[in-house]
């Protein structure tokens, strides 16, 4: 074996290591180039604005999902949490914007606690534990809203979803802020570090004396709270609250964003920026399809291929 061969071997392996990290970004880049060439009015501020606004709720939900997935869990109930949050807004808006927001956040905390306790204390498998609230939560939300779509007209509240701050939509500011907060939590807080250890090896974390159950409950609460923020922002953006529609199927979008962004479903690692990129990629795919007026069949098949390619590139070589 010559040294030459050895060197290329190592270079290849480095490339392999590097690719997963930049797979999503590469895909985004390709799609943007395609659009610049083929889509009219693509390279405009108004377009950027729309894509960011539309991606924001998924980004926010996906952040929470990434944390849950980091603990080797999954949360199917996020869409229902959004619906609950949405259902509560018009109910409490009469007491003021703050009261309404607090009420919907409280709903998030409550759902998160239930999920967390079912997973951490009762020991249910996350997918089943959250399936119960996935089914029941939305039903409850629709019951609360009496099945009625309610228009929301409170200007202060609508500012969150439809207003601008420094010429950038408030919604985008909030999403960006939450990205920073979550990235910060993962990197710089005790909770974040513990979360990764719990996801990486739960028995080990337990024996090391970490409050594993508390961490797990915390993660599910955080995820649900993020989902309820997404829910109330959706209400503010759509300017109406429709518990039967808000956040429908968002759990799959969020999981896709997380996984496409390079976070493994096996836990122990969380890629915050990758998650954001994953959500943006999926948003860009859909936008491209719509702008080219393609039918749903094509959109779905294209999504399938893009997910597979992005995840294939980003897959981790099994080392151990």
């Amino acid at each position: 074996m010559t040294t030459e061969a050895l060197r290329t071997g190592i270079d290849l392996s480095r490339l392999r290591k590097g690719l997963p990290r930049c797979g999503v970004y590469l895909a985004i880049l390709l799609l943007i180039v395609y659009n610049i060439v083929f889509t009219p009015y693509f390279l405009t501020l108004s377009n950027l604005r729309i894509q960011l606004i539309q991606a924001a709720p998924v980004v926010i939900v996906a952040l929470g999902m990434a944390l849950v997935i980091g603990t080797e869990g999954i949360d199917l109930s996020v869409g229902s949490v959004m619906a609950l949050a949405a259902a509560l807004i018009p109910l409490y808006l009469g007491y003021g914007v703050v009261a309404a927001i607090l009420a919907s956040l409280a709903a998030g905390v409550a759902i998160g606690l239930i999920n967390g306790i079912l997973v951490a204390k009762v020991g249910l498998q996350p997918i089943v534990a959250t399936l119960a609230l996935f089914v029941g939560g939305r039903g409850l939300a629709v019951v609360i809203s009496e099945g009625k779509l309610k228009d929301v007209r409170n200007e202060d509240f609508l500012y969150l979803g439809s207003g601008d701050f420094l010429r950038v939509p408030v919604l985008v500011w909030i999403a960006a802020l939450l990205v920073l907060v979550v990235a910060f939590v993962v990197r710089r807080t005790v909770f974040g570090r513990r979360l990764l250890a719990v996801g990486g090896n739960r028995p080990a974390a337990e024996l090391a004396g970490l409050p594993v159950k508390r961490v797990l409950i915390g993660v599910y609460v955080l995820c649900a709270v993020l989902a309820s923020i997404a829910g109330l922002l959706s209400v503010s953006r759509i300017q109406s609250s429709d518990a039967s529609a808000v956040g429908l199927l968002i759990e799959l979008s969020a999981i896709t964003a997380v996984v496409v962004g390079g976070t493994p479903l096996t836990g122990g690692r969380v890629r915050v920026l990758g998650t954001v990129a994953g959500a943006l990629l999926m948003q860009l795919v859909v936008a491209t399809m719509i702008k080219h007026d393609l039918p749903p069949s094509t959109t779905e098949m294209a999504q399938a291929v893009i997910i597979l390619v992005a995840v294939y590139v980003a897959r981790e070589r099994r080392t151990r």
């Binding site: 889509t39 009219p40 009015y41 693509f42 405009t44 108004s46 377009n47 729309i50 606004i53 539309q54 018009p90 109910l91 409490y92 808006l93 009469g94 007491y95 629709v142 099945g147 009625k148 779509l149 309610k150 228009d151 929301v152 007209r153 409170n154 439809s162 959706s234 953006r237 759509i238 300017q239 109406s240 429709d242 518990a243 039967s244 529609a245 808000v246 429908l248 936008a287 719509i290 702008k291 007026d293 039918p295 749903p296």
Partner: protein, 333 residues
Amino acid sequence: KSEDSGATGGSSAAPAATQVVASAPAGSATCTADQYGAAKLDLKTASVGFSQSEKEANPFRIAETQSIKDEAAKLGITKLKTANAASQFNKQISDVEQMIDSGVQLLVIAPLNSDGWDSVFAKAAAKHVPIITIDRKINAAACKDYLTFIGSDFAEQGKRAADAMAKALGNKGEVAILLGAPGNNVTTLRTSGFKDQIAKVAPDIKITFEQTGNFSREDGQKVAEQLLQSNPNINGIYGENDEMALGAITALKGAGKKAGDVKIVSIDGTKGAVQGIVDGWVSAVIESNPRFGPLAFATATTFFTGGPVGQDVVIQDRAYDESNAKTDIGSAY
């Protein structure tokens, strides 16, 4: 406490507009209990089943279910069973089959889908249970597989929407369609009716864009945002239901457009959309009247007392535009 709980619900006082049967063409087919092979009976003491297709989470479905329940109560029908398939077609099939098992003597079905009712027909035929389908038609033989269909003509609704759009645009412009949920025959008919009629009455109107908004406000808004951004020349938006049209209005506002810049026509006749006409955002709303209770039970009564009933009872849908929106908003649901 809700945002507007202080205000009094003035509009709810207005009487709900009942359905009117469009004048049936002479010689159109009818059906009697003898033809169908059903026994005559007294509806009051009969056991009646109502199967709703979608969750009561939008105005149309709420009004529809409520109308059936109210009318049954009014007629003194005590044995009314209701089931809701929550958009799961297989669930609707087993809901209905279960009702037949439990011995209902009349079935009122709001079908989720027009095809796929063979097993239900087989079961109903064995027990001679008459089936009245409302709002959506079932593709089968009337007076044999089922008794009769009561509902709107969706293609006709599409045509009327096309007429309204042509009028609003002065027969010229670029129109986008916000399609309903894919695979739904309401979507299919409202689309084909609209396109056919536009081609006929206003060939200068180009339909440049059609994307599904899944009958939901949020999706309607999202799609409209994308479309307004990349097709700034759009003059008209046809929403296949009111919800999507309302979503489009929010998108228009977000894009800095003013009322009337882009003409909107939609179908359903919900309060929100009719209010949109009053506010100047919407040009016209074609009604699709969900209050099937009185007509359904009247038909059943005629049938069970031996009289002939039409095999295809098409109701007359009203339309709202600037001329009547303010005055008639009370009839919107």
